[in-house]
C-alpha cells in the first residue's frame, strides 16, 4: 500500500501503526552460508515458527515491513534469550537471497545497553532451482552520500555516510521537551553527565539490489562516552527508488526494551554540512 507522504508526516507517532501481514501463511527455507538451515513458517501476521534441523521448534512474535513488492523486512525479538537477541531478516524474493542480522544487547555484561550485531548471508531455497551464486554484500555505493530523513514524529535528521564503516548524523529537530533539555544542561554543568561529542557511529551498508540497501548503525561511541545513553542498534532498508526507508529500533529506555518499527521519507542533499569533514575525536 502506497503511503502518502504529507499524511504520514502529520501522524506524529514514533512507530508505524501497523506492520504488513502479507507473509501470513508463507514458508521460506533459508540456506545460510555458514551452514545453518532454517524453515520459517509465518503462521499469522505476527507469529512465525522457526525450525532448524535437529533444533527445537520456536514460535516467535515478528513484525514485517515491505520496502517493495518482493522484499520483506522482518524483525523478531527472540523469547527467553539472555542476552537479549533481535533477529532481522531481509527476505529478497526477487533474487532468492536473504540477509540475517543478529543483534544482541548485553553481550558485554558491563555495558548492558550496547548492542553488537553479526551479519549473515545466504539464499532462499526454491524447489527445482539451484541456489543463486551471488549474494547480498557490503557495499561502497553509499559512501559520500547525505540524506535528510523525515520521520512521522516530525523528527528530521541528516545521515552522512562518510565511510563504509562510520556514519555521522546531524539532528535537525530536537524531540526533547524544554524540561529535558534544561535538566540535561544542568547535569552536564554539574559534571554528572559528559557532554556528547559529534555523532559518529560504527555502521554497515549492505546492497540488496540497485537502489535498495540495508543500513545498520550502533551508538557505540555515544555509549562509551556516557554508559547511560546510546548503545542502540538502528537498522533499516532504504529504498532510494521510492525515497523512503523501513526499519526497526533495538534499544533501551531506562530498564525497558525499546523496539518498534518505523518509516521515514528521505531526500538526498548536497548541502555542505560542517560535521561531515570535522576531524573525528574517537579514532587515532
Amino acid at each position: 500500500m502506497e503511503i502518502n507522504r504529507e499524511e504520514f508526516l502529520k501522524t506524529g507517532e514514533k512507530y508505524v501503526r501497523s506492520t504488513d501481514d502479507s507473509l501470513s501463511g508463507r514458508v521460506f527455507h533459508l540456506a545460510m552460508d555458514d551452514g545453518d538451515e532454517y524453515e520459517l513458517r509465518f503462521v499469522t501476521g505476527d507469529i512465525v515458527e522457526w525450525r532448524s534441523p535437529g533444533g527445537p521448534v520456536r514460535y516467535e512474535k515478528y513484525g514485517c515491513l515491505k520496502p517493495d513488492e518482493k522484499t520483506f523486512f522482518v524483525a523478531s525479538i527472540l523469547s527467553e534469550c539472555d542476552p537479549l537477541v533481535c533477529v532481522t531478516l531481509v527476505l529478497d524474493e526477487e533474487q532468492s537471497l536473504v540477509t540475517m542480522a543478529v543483534s544482541r544487547q548485553g553481550y558485554y555484561p558491563l555495558r548492558p545497553r550496547l548492542a553488537v550485531v553479526d551479519f549473515r548471508f545466504g539464499a532462499i531455497r526454491v524447489p527445482d532451482r539451484p541456489l543463486p551464486y551471488k549474494r547480498h554484500g557490503f557495499t561502497r555505493d553509499l559512501v559520500g552520500k547525505k540524506i535528510n530523513w523525515y520521520y512521522s514524529t516530525g523528527f528530521i535528521n541528516t545521515q552522512m555516510y562518510t565511510t563504509e564503516r562510520y556514519m555521522r548524523i546531524r539532528p535537525l529537530t530536537d524531540t526533547r521537551t524544554p524540561e529535558e533539555i534544561e535538566r540535561e544542561e544542568k547535569e552536564i554543568e554539574l559534571g554528572l553527565r559528559p557532554r556528547q561529542l559529534l555523532y559518529e557511529e560504527p555502521s554497515a551498508y549492505i546492497k540488496i539490489k540497485d537502489g535498495m540497501y540495508l543500513l545498520s548503525c550502533i551508538e557505540a561511541n555515544m555509549n562509551r562516552v556516557d554508559e547511560t545513553r546510546g548503545g542502540n542498534n538502528l537498522m533499516f532498508v532504504a529504498n532510494f527508488n521510492k525515497g523512503c526507508d523501513f526499519g526497526r529500533t533495538f534499544s533501551r529506555k531506562g530498564d525497558r526494551l525499546d523496539h518498534g518499527f518505523f518509516m521515514a521519507f528521505g531526500d538526498p542533499t548536497d548541502e555542505e554540512v560542517p560535521l561531515e569533514t570535522e576531524p573525528t575525536p574517537y579514532r587515532v
Binding site: 555495558r111 547480498h136 557490503f138 565511510t163 564503516r165 562510520y166 557505540a220 587515532v284
Partner: protein, 413 residues
C-alpha cells in the same frame, strides 16, 4: 586537499622509489621524467622534459633526485639529503633510516627514498646525511617453499600490560618469557598460555595465542597506550569457516589517564595493492578493494629458477595453472594503528561458500608500510585441531593496473 609534489628524475631507480613512497604517504605526485616508459606506476601525473625543468611555484614541494645530493625545495626553503658512500640498489627496506650530520657508509636505495620523503614531510629546513644498516638475511625458512613460516620476535619477556577493553572488562598480562604469558581478568586467577609475538613497529607488539580452541590476537601499542583484540573462532556447522570479533581498548599506565581515542577501522588502504613475497616461488598480490573486502591473486608469481627442485617446479606451475585467471574476493576489515601501521583481518568465506572443503581460514596481518613488511598468522582447522601458523614477509606496493582493481564482483549482487 592533497599536497602537490614534483619528483624530478622519477624515471631513475631512486626517483621511482621516492615517487612511490610520496604517493603512498598521500601526496599528489607529478613525475618529471625524460622517458615516461621507465615509470612503474600509473598513479601519478607525468611531465616529460628533456632537461627535467619544472615550475616550482606549481607545487608544495619539489624533490630533485637527479644529482648526487637530493634537493628538496618548499617555497623559499631548500633542504638536502646526502646519501651514504655506498648506495645499495638491491638492499631490502628496513624502515629504520638514520638522518645525521656525518656521512654514513651504507644506505639501501629503499631506505634512502624513505629519508627523502621524511625530510619532505618535516616542517623545518634540514641538511642531513642518510644512512641505514643492511637488512638482515631472511630466515632460512622464509626462503623456502612453505608459505606460512616465521619465527616470533624476542624482547617482550618481563613486560606487564594492564588492558581496559571497551567492554569494560579489565585484564593483566605478564610475559614470563618471550613465548609464555599469564593473563587474568580483574579479580580472577591467572591462566598460563604459550604465545608468539611480533614487534611490528618500534613500540607495537602483536601477540598470538590459542585459548579454548579460539585464536586470540592482541595488538599492544605502547606508543599510544592502546589495544586491539581479534578473536577468531570456528563456526559450528561449517567447521572450517572462521568468524572474527574485534574489540578495541586502552592500556592503563601508572599516573596517566586512559587515552580517549582508539584504534579504529579505516579506509586509507582502499584502492591500493601490495604484492607479498612469500617465498622465491610464491608472490601473492593483495588488492584492498573496499573497506569490507580484499581481492587476491597469484598472478605475479616469480619465474621458477632453472635449478629448482622438480617438486618445487611442479608446485609452482600447478598453482599458476589453477590460479592464473581468477581472483578471490573475501570479506576483510582494516584497522589503522598509526600512519604507517595497519591491520587486515581477512577470512576465506567466499572460497568456503563455493566449496565447503576449501578455504574458510583467516589471515590477520599487521602491515607496516614503512618497513614494507607484514606480521601475522593464518588460523584454520587444518587437518587436525584448530591452530595457527605465523607469517612475516616482505612486500612491495603494486601500482600497475590489474583487472581485479575494477572487475565487477562475481560473488555479490
Amino acid at each position: 586537499m592533497k599536497k602537490r609534489i614534483a619528483v624530478v628524475g622519477a624515471d631513475n631507480s631512486l626517483g621511482r622509489r621516492v615517487a612511490r613512497e610520496a604517493y603512498h604517504r598521500g601526496y599528489a605526485v607529478t613525475a618529471v621524467v625524460r622517458d615516461q616508459s621507465l615509470l612503474d606506476s600509473v598513479k601519478y601525473s607525468v611531465r616529460e622534459s628533456a632537461d627535467y625543468s619544472v615550475e616550482e611555484d606549481e607545487f608544495d614541494a619539489v624533490i630533485d633526485v637527479t644529482g648526487k645530493v637530493i634537493k628538496i625545495t618548499k617555497g623559499d626553503m631548500v633542504s638536502s639529503v646526502c646519501p651514504a658512500e655506498s648506495i645499495d640498489a638491491d638492499g631490502r627496506r628496513t624502515g629504520q633510516v638514520r638522518l645525521s650530520d656525518k656521512r654514513e657508509t651504507y644506505v639501501s636505495e629503499e631506505d634512502l627514498a624513505l629519508a627523502v620523503v621524511d625530510v619532505t614531510d618535516s616542517d623545518g629546513q634540514m641538511d642531513v646525511f642518510a644512512g641505514s644498516d643492511p637488512a638482515p638475511d631472511l630466515p632460512e625458512e622464509n626462503s623456502g617453499r612453505r608459505r606460512y613460516v616465521a619465527v616470533s620476535d624476542k624482547g617482550i619477556a618481563g613486560k606487564v600490560f594492564e588492558l581496559v577493553m571497551d567492554s569494560l572488562q579489565e585484564y593483566v598480562i605478564r610475559f614470563l618469557t618471550d613465548n609464555t604469558m599469564i593473563i587474568a581478568e580483574k579479580g580472577k586467577t591467572y591462566r598460563e598460555y604459550s604465545c608468539d609475538c611480533f614487534r611490528c613497529d618500534d613500540d607495537v607488539w602483536m601477540v598470538i595465542y590459542m585459548k579454548d580452541g579460539e585464536c586470540v590476537t592482541l595488538i599492544l601499542d605502547e606508543g599510544q597506550d592502546l589495544v586491539t583484540e581479534v578473536l577468531a573462532e570456528l563456526m559450528p556447522k561449517r567447521t572450517q569457516l572462521v568468524r572474527h570479533r574485534i574489540l578495541f581498548g586502552a592500556l592503563r599506565r601508572k599516573d596517566k589517564e586512559l587515552p580517549f581515542r582508539r584504534h579504529a577501522f579505516t579506509d586509507e588502504l582502499v584502492g591500493q595493492k601490495i604484492t607479498w613475497h612469500y617465498s622465491p616461488y610464491v608472490n601473492i598480490t593483495h588488492c584492498f578493494y573496499t573497506e569490507m573486502y580484499m581481492r587476491n591473486s597469484l598472478r605475479s608469481m616469480k619465474p621458477v629458477p632453472d635449478d629448482a627442485a622438480p617438486e618445487a617446479r611442479f608446485d609452482a606451475e600447478d598453482r599458476i595453472r589453477r590460479w592464473s585467471n581468477i581472483f578471490f574476493e573475501e570479506p576483510a576489515q582494516y584497522i589503522r594503528f598509526n600512519p604507517h601501521l595497519y591491520m587486515m583481518c581477512m577470512r576465506e568465506a567466499t572460497r568456503n561458500r563455493i566449496d565447503p572443503l576449501q578455504g574458510g581460514g583467516d589471515m590477520v596481518l599487521v602491515i607496516n608500510t614503512r618497513r614494507m613488511r607484514d606480521y601475522g598468522r593464518g588460523f584454520s582447522r587444518g587437518k587436525g585441531a584448530p591452530g595457527y601458523d605465523l607469517v612475516s614477509v616482505c612486500g612491495d606496493w603494486d601500482d600497475l593496473p590489474d583487472p581485479m582493481d575494477t572487475a565487477e564482483s562475481p560473488y555479490l549482487v
